[in-house]
């Protein structure tokens, strides 16, 4: 398929502090001990989309990401890594790589997408409907621990609303989008669009998965013309949806003689013909099946959720094979006596657990040293972490090289790279990091 893919991988995301650091930029954050970017890359590879440009924010991060990609995907994908400065919007990032784009259609994918929705289907829908832009929407994931005991009070809550989407009857054409701050305001629907289609389904339960198939010419024209557009999601995409009935992007593709008034005069008598001549373009949506997994790693909560899901209900994404206990324990991991590793857990190579430990619904990275009588529930522990005896860790994220001394209790905390927790301390809902 002659789609070029632009992967917007991000850099040191502020939303994810303190989990991202110089050493681990956002694209390399571990999801089940694999960089999150690998999920997108492998998904693209599986769909035979192999011509990629990965845009990373920040030079250092780009070097790291480039190094990792060239190591891991050397013969498999044709990848160019481009660095853009920090504080660059997604549209600006595309502007920076626009001169590399050559194919008729471009697929823009966010680097933090963890999904099994085939981008090939999105691309095919785009081509089939002759759309200017096609976006992937999926059902909003319910965040937070799904079925653990602690979440009883959250049972009744509704998924957060991230997008408001207007679709036509066939659910193929996109008539309205609202994102960001607009979501919480009253809904404003363009009447002309409603009249055009007669009916519109407005949904709040869909999430924009940040996968857009878009015609290159149009993308480049919008990027050139609208310099104040900084974001694909907030500016370019809504702009295209908004102007679909009076397209400003198709001008030059219309035959020139059409602008000549005399050439049109016979048609003027028949209003229908004149309406057809009106410039319109199509914006489409591909709505992923409910059974598909689709999530974006764009917050600390999402990081925990995705890690839990990938070793749990969406286990097929991780690429590992699960043991009979429904967990993944690396052969080189050592477990002390009376230590249990529950289902939906992952324990990677070289890690050691002492006696009488209990691990539930958690991911533990490589070469961790975990003492005795440690309980780890619903947490992510990255690599080279030392946890001494008698600690209790729940709902937390522990970054690389953290030292946790004896009898520390952590609940819903994030501990940044290399932090040292002194013995006996207790934290709740805190974000701990060196700086």
């Amino acid at each position: 398929m002659d789609f070029q893919v632009v992967v917007l991988a991000g850099g040191e995301s502020k939303n994810l502090a303190p989990l991202v650091s110089k050493e681990i930029p956002k694209p390399l954050m571990p999801v089940a001990n694999r960089p999150v970017l690998s999920y997108v890359l492998e998904l693209l590879e599986a769909n035979n989309l192999k011509d990629l440009i990965v845009v990373v924010k920040g030079k250092d991060a780009a070097l790291q990401v480039g190094g990792w990609i060239s190591g891991a995907y050397v013969d498999r994908l044709h990848v160019e890594v481009a660095a853009v400065p920090e504080e660059t919007g997604t549209a600006d990032a595309l502007r920076a790589v626009a001169h590399h784009l050559t194919t008729k259609d471009i697929l823009i994918v966010s680097g933090d997408l963890v999904s099994d929705v085939s981008p090939g289907v999105v691309a095919a829908t785009h081509r089939r409907l002759g759309a200017v832009v096609t976006a992937l929407f999926c059902n909003t994931p319910v965040s937070g621990p799904s079925d653990t005991g602690s979440s009883v009070k959250d049972k009744g809550r509704k998924p957060p609303r991230v997008n408001i989407v207007g679709l036509d009857q066939t659910r193929q054409y996109l008539l309205h989008v609202a994102a960001g701050a607009e979501v919480d305001k009253d809904i404003k629907i363009q009447k002309s669009l409603l009249r055009h289609k007669g009916q519109m389904e407005i949904r709040a339960d869909l999430m924009d998965a940040h996968m857009y198939a878009i015609q290159r010419k149009i993308l480049q024209e919008v990027l050139d013309k609208k310099e104040m557009f900084h974001s694909i999601k907030h500016d370019v995409f809504p702009y295209l949806v908004r102007t679909q009935l009076k397209s400003e992007v198709l001008d030059h593709e219309e035959p020139r003689n059409g602008l000549n008034g005399e050439a049109y005069s016979p048609n003027k008598l028949d209003p229908r013909i004149a309406i057809l001549n009106n410039k319109t373009h199509k914006c489409c949506a591909y709505i992923a099946n409910k059974s598909k997994y689709c999530s974006r790693l764009n917050s600390v909560q999402a990081f925990c959720d995705i890690n839990r899901d990938v070793v749990g209900e969406a286990g097929h994404l991780s690429g590992y094979s699960f043991s009979a206990q429904n967990n993944i324990v690396h052969s080189s991991a050592e477990l002390g006596s009376k230590t249990t590793v529950g289902p939906h857990c992952m324990l990677d190579g070289g890690s050691k657990l002492g006696d009488k430990c209990s691990v539930k619904r958690s991911v533990i990275g490589r070469h961790c040293r975990i003492g005795s009588n440690v309980k780890i529930v619903n947490s992510v522990v990255m690599n080279h972490v030392t946890v001494e005896d008698g600690c209790f860790i729940q709902g937390s994220v522990i970054c690389n090289n953290v030292q946790i001394q004896e009898r520390v209790v952590l609940k819903d905390c994030q501990v940044g790279e290399g932090y040292i927790l002194t013995s006996g301390s207790e934290y709740k809902s805190e974000s701990l990091s060196k700086r």
């Binding site: 917007l8 991000g10 995301s13 502020k14 939303n15 920090e86 504080e87 660059t88 919007g89 997604t90 966010s110 609303r161 408001i164 960001g180 701050a181 607009e182 919480d184 305001k185 009253d186 809904i187 404003k188 629907i189 363009q190 009447k191 002309s192 409603l194 009249r195 007669g198 009916q199 519109m200 389904e201 407005i202 949904r203 709040a204 339960d205 940040h210 609208k226 104040m228 557009f229 900084h230 974001s231 694909i232 999601k233 907030h234 500016d235 809504p238 702009y239 908004r242 102007t243 009935l245 009076k246 003027k268 008598l269 209003p271 004149a274 309406i275 009106n278 974006r296 764009n298 917050s299």
Partner: protein
């Protein structure tokens, strides 16, 4: 009909059988769209393809298994009653009973339902329908759904019947001539969430309350649905009308009122009919459309040749949809085209062409007449050489030789039109004068055309304005050309209603002329090419991350605030004219709630009004202005203080003051410090607020600091003051 009864849905369902199914039929549309005809005959008795409209409605009600019908009549109630008494409906024995309820002071559907509630005849769910509805749908499913919903949720008070009908993109009206309706419906439960039948065409956007989506994951928004004006109501609907005595219009007040009101929690649901027919004769255009639908048999079995309706004469259906009653005398050379109905004992002369028209009983049509797309009622005489196109001719009209009726003409009862007169397009001719214009405003739209009081006054006022004998002219510039009604009786040409020609051509019998369509098309295209105003609503986010929360323009809030400020000012002005201070406070408070504003916004807006008031009195130098301002502040200080409970609000006032000085009225600028000091002295502003304002401004731009500089001394004094206060306290 006896056969039909055995097929009643109630026969199958024991539960339905216990409660007789009732229907309320409103034999009054509470509108004036069929004037001048309705001045003389009630709308429900106007013939629709040679049978009174009410017969279609009653026949349908009987066919869906209704047991009792209460016909509410108001205008011309005697005519309706006597018609029903002599008709098959009351004479025939059987389960189906028709009773009339009469009221003379009802001016709206709301009043009608309140009267019906007083009578206490309705015992359960009922069908609410207006007497001008033509339908052939089966109600069993809708009724079942309604009852099932009622079992689960007693708040589901009403089920509305809707039908697919996409309005024209150009004219924004359905084929029935109704304006487009925007409805939001829950796709799963079919609950109606939003209803707007008066869509403001100048607005490009539809605003939906965000709360709609909070409660529903998805809603579907339609403008391709037509409201059939057939409702299945529960008894609670009558109570709602009694409780809310200001509900007048069934849709505009009742439906919208229920949708907005979330205290009672009443819900309205919709039922969409797919293949069956339901439509209401609401205006001349729908009269035309529905007549043609009947002739083309969309409403089967309610068609002329089936003996449900009218006088029971056997009407014969020829090919090409030509219906002929017995005793039609037709010249050999007369040419009757497709989709034409000829009534009983009608004579058609030589070389006459009739197409797409309905001709009533006992008409005499001369030679060489051309009739197309027209409706000719009973006992009409059309002399030789007349040309009728898309006209409506009432009973007893006499058209002399060579009369030409242009498209959209309405000729009311017994008018005589003299030889060779050309009646211009969209004219309405009646023997009765047009009521004066002032009763055609919004309030009185519900006023029925024929309630005695209005009638008599209008008769008196109009007499001298547009009365025309023999030579008939026009008082209105909308109608060009003044026809001479030679040798005929007196008549009046009615001037067009408030909608002007625009409305007339939209709701006329005649199709919209091509020229008009072209005009609309051009305006639409130019509209499309116009710069898009809603672009501005979403400026570039300028944010870094794809998932960043961008701060969209506060344009909306600003606009809201400006509106709010205007309202407050208006309230304040009322306060000047002597309204009690408590009432002003009350009004402002309710404004605040309705506009969703903060207490601080109130204070700011009120302060703004006071300062504006100070400008009203004449002044020549700044000292006079100062004096005026002081006066106003003293006068309204108490009112203002009511809103200044915390420092935040006082802070807002200072900011507002700064705004006024730097923006709208620069006259205050030199007085800023003085007035500020005065406000402090009067204890309207506390020193804390002033100091925090000064502090806030310290970091601001130089241009922003003009006023802090002006008030520097005062602020300095304030800063030192606290210590003095303390000392004072210590001394005391």
């Amino acid at each position: 009909m006896a056969q039909k009864k055995t097929h009643r849905p109630s026969a199958d369902d024991p539960e339905v059988e216990r409660i007789p199914l009732q229907a309320v039929l409103l034999a009054d549309s509470f509108a004036q769209k069929f004037r001048p005809i309705t001045l003389e005959r009630p709308k429900v008795l106007l013939p629709l393809v040679n049978a009174p409209m009410i017969d279609y409605t009653l026949a349908w009600l009987e066919s869906v298994g209704v047991d009792e019908v209460f016909v509410f009549c108001c205008a011309h109630s005697q005519q309706v009653k006597s018609y029903l008494e002599n008709s098959q409906w009351t004479k025939q024995p059987g389960v189906f009973s028709v009773a009339t309820i009469e009221s003379h002071d009802a001016i709206s559907a709301g009043d009608a339902l309140r009267v019906i509630h007083e009578h206490g005849v309705i015992r359960g769910d009922f069908i609410l329908i207006s007497g001008d509805t033509v339908s052939n749908m089966s109600l069993a499913k809708a009724l079942y759904e309604h009852k099932e919903r009622r079992k689960k949720d007693p708040h589901a008070v009403m089920t509305m019947i809707i039908k697919q009908s996409k309005p024209s993109v150009l004219t924004h009206q359905t084929r029935l001539g109704d304006d487009e309706i925007v409805m939001a419906i829950d796709p799963e439960t079919k609950e109606l969430l939003y209803y707007e039948d008066k869509v403001d065409l100048s607005q490009r956007l539809i605003l939906l309350d965000k709360m709609l989506l909070v409660e529903n994951g998805a809603i579907s928004l339609h403008n391709d649905k037509q409201d059939c004006y057939v409702d299945i109501c529960s008894l609670g609907v009558l109570d709602l009308f009694v409780d809310n005595f200001d509900y007048q219009h069934l849709r505009r007040h009742f439906v919208k009122g229920l949708l907005v009101d979330d205290i009672m929690g009443c819900k309205i649901f919709t039922h969409e009919i797919q293949s069956s027919y339901a439509a209401r004769v609401d205006n001349f255009k729908s009269y035309d459309t529905i007549s043609k639908d009947i002739v083309q048999r969309w409403t089967y079995p309610f068609v002329p040749d089936v003996r449900y309706l009218g006088n029971g004469l056997q009407i014969k259906l020829d090919r090409e949809g030509i219906y002929k009653a017995p005793d039609v005398v037709q010249s050999r050379s007369a040419h009757i085209d497709a989709f034409t109905v000829l009534g009983n004992a009608t004579t058609v002369g030589d070389n006459t062409k009739i197409s797409n028209s309905v001709i009533g009983q006992g008409c005499i049509i001369g030679h060489n007449v051309v009739i197309e797309g027209s409706f000719v009622w009973d006992n009409v005489t059309i002399e030789d050489g007349c040309k009728l196109s898309h006209a409506l001719i009432c009973d007893g009209v006499h058209l002399r030789e060579g009369v030409i009726l242009e498209p959209g003409v309405i000729i009311s009862f017994k008018v005589e039109v003299g030889q060779n007169i050309v009646v211009p397009t969209y004219s309405k001719v009646s023997l009765l004068p047009q009521p004066s214009k002032q009763d055609s405003d919004e309030e009185l739209e519900y006023a029925d055309s024929n309630t005695g009081a209005i009638e008599s006054t209008s008769m008196a006022t109009v007499m001298n304005t547009s009365k025309l004998d023999f030579a008939l002219g026009t008082s209105d510039a909308n109608i060009s050309g003044k026809p001479e009604f030679q040798g005929s009786g007196p008549g009046y040409i009615w001037s067009s209603s408030e909608g002007g020609t625009e409305e007339e051509c939209r709701q006329s019998i005649a199709p919209i002329p091509a020229g008009k369509l072209l005009e609309l098309l051009q305006s639409k295209i130019s509209d499309n090419n116009a710069p898009d105003q809603d672009m501005i609503i979403t400026p570039a986010s300028g944010e870094l991350l794809p998932d960043s929360e961008s701060t969209f323009g506060d344009g909306d809030d600003d606009r809201e605030y400006v509106d709010f400020e205007k309202e407050v000012e208006a309230t304040f002005q009322r306060g000047l004219t002597g309204v009690e201070k408590e009432n002003v406070i009350l009004e402002i408070n309710s404004l605040r709630l309705s506009c969703n504003m903060e207490q601080a916004d109130c204070a700011g807006a009120l302060f703004h009004s006071i300062m504006k008031q100070a400008l009203v009195a004449p002044y020549s130098c700044k000292n006079e202005l100062y004096a005026n301002t002081i006066k106003e502040i003293i006068k309204w200080g108490d009112l203002l203080k009511h809103y200044l409970t915390t420092t935040d609000e006082e802070f807002e006032v200072i900011l507002k003051f700064e705004d006024i000085c730097s923006g709208t009225t620069r006259d205050f600028a030199p007085l800023f410090s003085n007035i500020l000091t005065f406000l402090y002295d009067k204890e309207i502003l506390s020193e804390k607020a002033i100091l925090s304002w000064a502090q806030e401004k310290e970091g601001a731009d130089e241009s922003d600091k003009i006023f802090t500089k002006q008030a520097e001394q005062f602020i300095k004094w304030l800063r030192e003051a606290p210590e003095e206060d303390d000392e004072d306290d210590a001394d005391a």
